[in-house]
């Protein structure tokens, strides 16, 4: 075992201190929001930096639970996330696999067309027309289909699949497998880290969707959670404007805002740690060309 000098240990201590401080700096805003969502407002007024409340006040969460639109928002967000991710991964696999074949006819033309969409698109109004003409307006499909397959992620996936040794496929073909069997029995299992990464990428994107909902829906029952969150929190949008439930002591616009932020980010925060190992691996997806 290598003997570590005092200098090495000192350097390690320094690195750990910096990393710990950085981690705390990242954690602090979330902790701040979580703390003040359960702090009586009077305590916040006395000391806006007091992070540990003397007692916990859950009135704001009770009030949020009674807002019916929060639950429809949750439903919509879960639908567009689950469906969006499933469609995204399916489309990405069946597109990336053939494109990874160098002998595919017209491959370069197709890749050019795909890459072209990374830099140019129709713009807001043409997209609005398109969605209306396809009768997607005022449906949840309008929040799923337009962004179902992103060019950048597709190219990364193509590179990842292209890096899988050809010999594996060839041996499967010799054993009598067809292209679909090779894709779903050889390529998909070997691409798990990449798939997991894109699941996270797309799930987070779909979870945070709000702008397409503004443009492509006019019904509040179709609003995803993030749109509701944004509209309630930004500039006191929906909260200060209307009477709050004055009977619930300690609940103010401020505590309600804090609680709504926690309420809507908690699910994705709970899922993230379980996906993190794939996320770390997947960051290098497509970066090494075989």
């Amino acid at each position: 075992m290598k003997i570590r000098s005092f200098g090495d240990r000192l350097f390690d201590a320094f690195i750990y201190t910096v990393i710990t401080l950085f981690a705390l700096a990242c954690l602090f805003p979330f902790f701040y929001v979580a703390s003040f969502s359960v702090t009586p407002y009077a305590e916040y007024l006395q000391n806006p930096l007091k992070l540990i409340p003397s007692r916990l006040e859950f009135g704001a969460y009770k009030q949020i639970a009674e807002m019916s639109q929060m639950w429809t928002g949750y439903r919509n967000t879960v639908i567009i996330t689950v469906t969006g991710v499933a469609i995204n991964i399916f489309l990405m696999l069946i597109t990336a696999y053939p494109l990874s074949k160098k002998d595919l006819k017209g491959r370069n033309a197709i890749l050019f067309l795909i890459t072209f969409t990374m830099f140019f698109n129709g713009g807001l109004i043409p997209n609005f027309y398109l969605v209306k003409s396809l009768h997607l307006y005022n449906t949840l499909w309008a929040l799923i289909l337009p962004g179902a397959l992103g060019a950048y992620n597709l190219l990364l996936m193509k590179n990842f699949i292209g890096a899988i040794p050809k010999d594996l496929e060839e041996s499967a073909f010799i054993d009598g497998a067809n292209e679909f069997k090779v894709l779903f029995r050889i390529i998909v299992p070997l691409s798990k880290p990449a798939i997991a990464t894109f699941v996270i990428f797309h799930a987070v994107t779909q979870w945070n969707t709000f702008f397409s909902a503004i443009i492509y829906t006019s019904k509040r029952t179709l609003w995803p959670l993030m749109l509701i969150l944004r509209d309630l929190v930004v500039d006191d949008g929906g909260l200060a404007a209307s009477d709050l439930n004055g009977g619930q002591e300690g609940v103010t616009v401020f505590t309600l805002k804090m609680a709504i932020i926690i309420f809507s980010t908690l699910p994705i925060l709970l899922v993230y740690p379980f996906m993190q190992k794939y996320f770390m691996k997947g960051l290098l997806v497509g970066s090494i060309k075989g």
Binding site: A42, S68, N76, I79, T139, W141, A240, S242, G246
Partner: protein, 533 residues
């Protein structure tokens, strides 16, 4: 591996199917309701009489409105009651309040317009563009047939929304509460220090010095400031609004449309009180009586600082103290509202412009222009305003007295109110300048406090009615000479902050600002001499 691959593929397909079914369910239900939305409207062309018989199928009106997020639009009992009372079928589209303008622009560009469209900024440049592009119905010839519109919307309000391009009316103003801007002060600080709310500039200086130096919050630390302002976006001159209660003492109005003390209309920077007002602000700043962060405070931050006992005075109208109850449950016990400061002649000015909160535009393609106008006419009655502001008896309140505007409701009813209606839902937010309720004043004690403070302020206030200024050049300086406007605001603040002298600032005004704005000033002065000589 074979088994695992199959399993993963199966799971993927299951998830897709499940998601598709769920999404399709939503689409179907939307398609159903969307179907009724796109169904041909019942026979009611623009030549139909305004009073349709009860047996006829009600006209469907598609409304595009700006409503806060808490209100649930679908199956809304208040909307249903409005349909019953007005004899129409309403289909309300309410995009997110913070992106209302984005969605409105996209919708107008797409050309697929609802019957009735709310425009927050009233007769702004967008309205002018849409009118010029033929998207909006001109309403001049029709509005005279609707008595409630003519009664509740004053001549000044109509004048303030006439198109500057062709003089037609394309927008029905949404009448709003008449606000009397003054200030809100921490009454407990005043009481502790044995002071009275200031009414003059000298008294304001005394109170401010005491608020900063005499530890009004009793924590033993010199951590309080007297005044704060919010959102002084220099390009928008918001500092003017936020310090209106001080500017009043210099007879210096926050908006155009008011004569100077010599009886002449002129550019604000040429008015008699302008430089003395800036000099007074400078003195407050030099003595460190103003919150030093006032230049970077965003909207409502001044209110937060008042609630946090960091400052003692912010600007406010008569509803500010009770409205602040949603942020500070002790607002009515801690703070009081007062009139703006008196000028040297003893007048506390309240300049009241046309009190409108945006307005309603009717699509030129609408087949129901008369039915829409009839609905707006109903919307300008006390019945409609009370419905949209109070909700439904039994559901959102127990009792209501129109004479005193006292309303009683349980906590459950208050929670239901927030989900069923808000002031954003109103067609007219005020009848004769008054709302149906006083926000927050939900007990007799609070109502009494509100009335006492308002009455005391009104005894001091001199109300000055200001006509709507439709002189485009003076209103568009931010667009026509943006860099110079910014420079002027910067120089103004530099003088207040002591970075340049009065002579330097005066020199800038004379050499750069006055020549660049001479044309706009002339147009403004000519316009005002014509409409209010």
């Amino acid at each position: 591996m074979k088994k695992a691959g199959k399993k993963a593929f199966g799971l993927l397909i299951c998830a897709m199917l499940l998601g598709s079914v769920l999404a399709a369910c939503s689409s179907e239900s939307d398609a159903e309701s969307g179907g009724s939305a796109s169904a041909p409207a019942p026979a009611s062309d623009s030549s139909a009489p305004a009073s349709a018989s009860a047996s006829e199928k009600p006209v469907t009106i598609r409304i595009f409105n700006r409503v806060n997020a808490q209100v649930v639009i679908d199956d809304n009992p208040v909307i249903k009651e409005a349909e019953k009372l007005a004899g129409v079928k309403l289909e309300v589209e309410a995009p997110p309040i913070n992106n209302y303008q984005d969605k409105l622009q996209v919708m107008m560009a797409s050309g697929d317009l609802p019957d009735l469209i709310y425009n927050w900024a009233a007769a702004d440049s967008n309205m002018e563009t849409w009118a010029a592009n033929g998207l909006l119905a001109p309403l001049d010839d029709k509005i005279g047939n609707y008595p409630n519109l003519m009664k509740n919307i004053t001549k000044e309000m109509w004048d303030s929304v006439k198109s500057v391009n062709d003089g037609h009316i394309y927008l029905i103003p949404r009448p709003n509460i008449v606000n009397h801007w003054g200030y809100m002060i921490n009454q407990t600080w005043l009481d502790k220090l044995g002071l009275k709310a200031p009414t003059t500039l000298d008294e304001m200086l005394d109170v401010c010095r005491a608020f900063v130096k005499n530890d009004p919050d009793g924590n033993g630390k010199p951590d309080t400031y007297c005044l704060s302002f919010s959102n002084p976006t220099l390009g928008n001159n918001t500092i003017w609004n936020a310090s209106n209660f001080l500017a009043s003492a210099f007879a210096l109005p926050t908006a155009y449309g008011v004569k100077d003390t010599d009886g002449q209309y002129k550019l604000r920077e040429k008015m008699t009180g302008y430089l003395p007002y800036l000099t007074y602000l400078k003195q407050l700043n030099d003595e460190k009586l103003i919150d030093p962060e006032f230049l970077i405070n965003k909207i409502y931050v001044d209110q937060d600082k008042l609630n946090q006992n960091r400052v003692g005075i912010i600007y406010s109208h008569q509803y500010g103290v009770m409205g602040n109850l949603s942020k500070n449950p002790d607002s009515d016990k801690l703070f009081t509202y007062h009139a703006p400061l008196k000028d040297k002649d003893g007048a506390a000015h309240s300049w009241v412009g046309p009190a409108i909160w945006g307005g309603w535009m009717i699509s030129k393609d609408s087949k129901n222009v008369d039915a829409v106008l009839k609905f707006l006419d109903w919307g300008n009655t006390p019945e409609a305003t009370q419905l949209f502001q109070l909700g439904l008896k039994g559901m959102t309140y127990d009792s209501y007295d129109p004479a005193t505007r006292a309303v009683s409701r349980t906590p459950d009813q208050a929670a239901r109110l927030a989900q069923t209606t808000s002031t954003y839902m109103t067609v007219a937010n005020a009848i004769d300048g008054n709302a149906s309720i006083i926000e927050g004043a939900d007990t007799p004690e609070r109502m009494q406090k509100f009335n006492d403070q308002l009455n005391a302020a009104m005894q001091q206030i001199k109300v000055v009615n200001v006509p709507g200024v439709r002189s485009p050049k003076i209103l568009n300086l931010n667009n026509s000479i943006p860099d110079l406007v910014k420079k002027k605001d910067d120089e103004e603040m530099k003088y207040v902050l002591g970075k340049i002298t009065l002579e330097q600032y005066r020199s800038f005004l004379e050499k750069e600002w006055f020549p660049a704005t001479a044309d706009a000033e002339k147009e403004y002065v000519d316009y005002m001499n014509q409409v209010a000589p």
